[in-house]
């Protein structure tokens, strides 16, 4: 089965989702990310979804679950690059990404993580 690669950038993990994932692939990613947070003692996870033209409730739940598990492991999760049409659809779908910060792109996402997740500054 193919896997989505997870890159390490210092204390953070970066995942760029570039394929339309089938459910099993999404679940594998969730498991892989959790394992890597532990293994690398990561302080944060950046999930780049700029290539995703849809985020449905299954993927939404995968992201929320990942963030919840990361939090238990003392790591923050930032989702970056959400396409506007996706954001609009998520609101209408009634899906709130619990425990997930968002940023426009990877660079801003990294800044967010470096600041410990503060969104005020």
């Amino acid at each position: 089965m193919d896997r989505i690669p997870i890159l390490r950038m210092g204390q953070f993990l970066l995942v760029t989702i570039q394929v339309d994932m089938h459910d099993k692939l999404a679940m594998t990613l969730q498991d892989d990310l959790t394992a890597r947070i532990v293994k690398d003692r990561a302080k944060g996870v950046l999930i780049d979804i700029s290539a995703l033209d849809i985020v449905d409730s299954f993927i939404g739940r995968m992201i929320s679950n990942t963030a919840a598990m990361a939090k238990i492991l003392d790591a923050k999760t930032v989702v970056v690059g959400m396409q506007p049409a996706v954001a609009i659809t998520l609101v209408e779908l009634g899906l709130t990404l619990e425990g997930v910060e968002t940023a426009l792109n990877v660079e801003l996402g990294m800044k967010l993580l470096n600041r410990g997740g503060d969104t005020w500054i």
Binding site: D20, L25, S57, G60, R61, E92, L93
Partner: protein, 142 residues
């Protein structure tokens, strides 16, 4: 219930929904059809998302089934109709199933209710032990 009777009469495309990959293929097909019909990006996204939710329901709760895709034309307006059918256990309480957050499978419970919000028309035909058919339509906004 004879599932085929409830489905779109002159469906242009019929896709199986038996595997995870089938759901991915369905999303792609629906996207292509909407693009060809000139739907706006936001409306495409909403319809594809609704299709994804319903296709998943067919697979996970319905034991697998199929999707029918049909282009609609009424006077000057165009649209797309999708039907999702399975011969699974059926839904006992539709009203309950359509409540945000209600799930029997550990999901978010937004599939049916969410899909309904994302489309123009939503019909569901189901009974315990008799399978389920969900039909949705969306019209192109000019």
């Amino acid at each position: 219930m004879n599932i085929t009777q409830s489905l779109l009469p002159e469906a242009a495309v019929i896709l199986p929904l038996k595997t995870d990959e089938d759901v991915v293929r369905l999303r792609k097909q629906v996207r292509e059809e909407l693009l060809a019909l000139g739907f706006s990006l936001v409306d495409q996204t909403k319809m594809v998302t609704a299709a994804s939710e319903l296709a998943r329901n067919t697979l996970r709760y319905g034991g697998g089934g199929e999707a029918h895709i049909e282009t609609l034309q009424e006077d000057s307006r165009v649209g797309l109709a999708l039907a999702f059918a399975d011969n699974g256990p059926g839904i006992a309480d539709i009203k309950l199933a359509l409540t945000d957050g209600y799930t029997t499978g550990g999901g978010l419970g937004l599939g049916l209710s969410g899909a309904k919000r994302l489309v123009d028309t939503f019909e569901i035909d189901t009974a315990l032990g008799e399978g389920t058919v969900v039909k949705i339509t969306k019209w192109r906004r000019l």
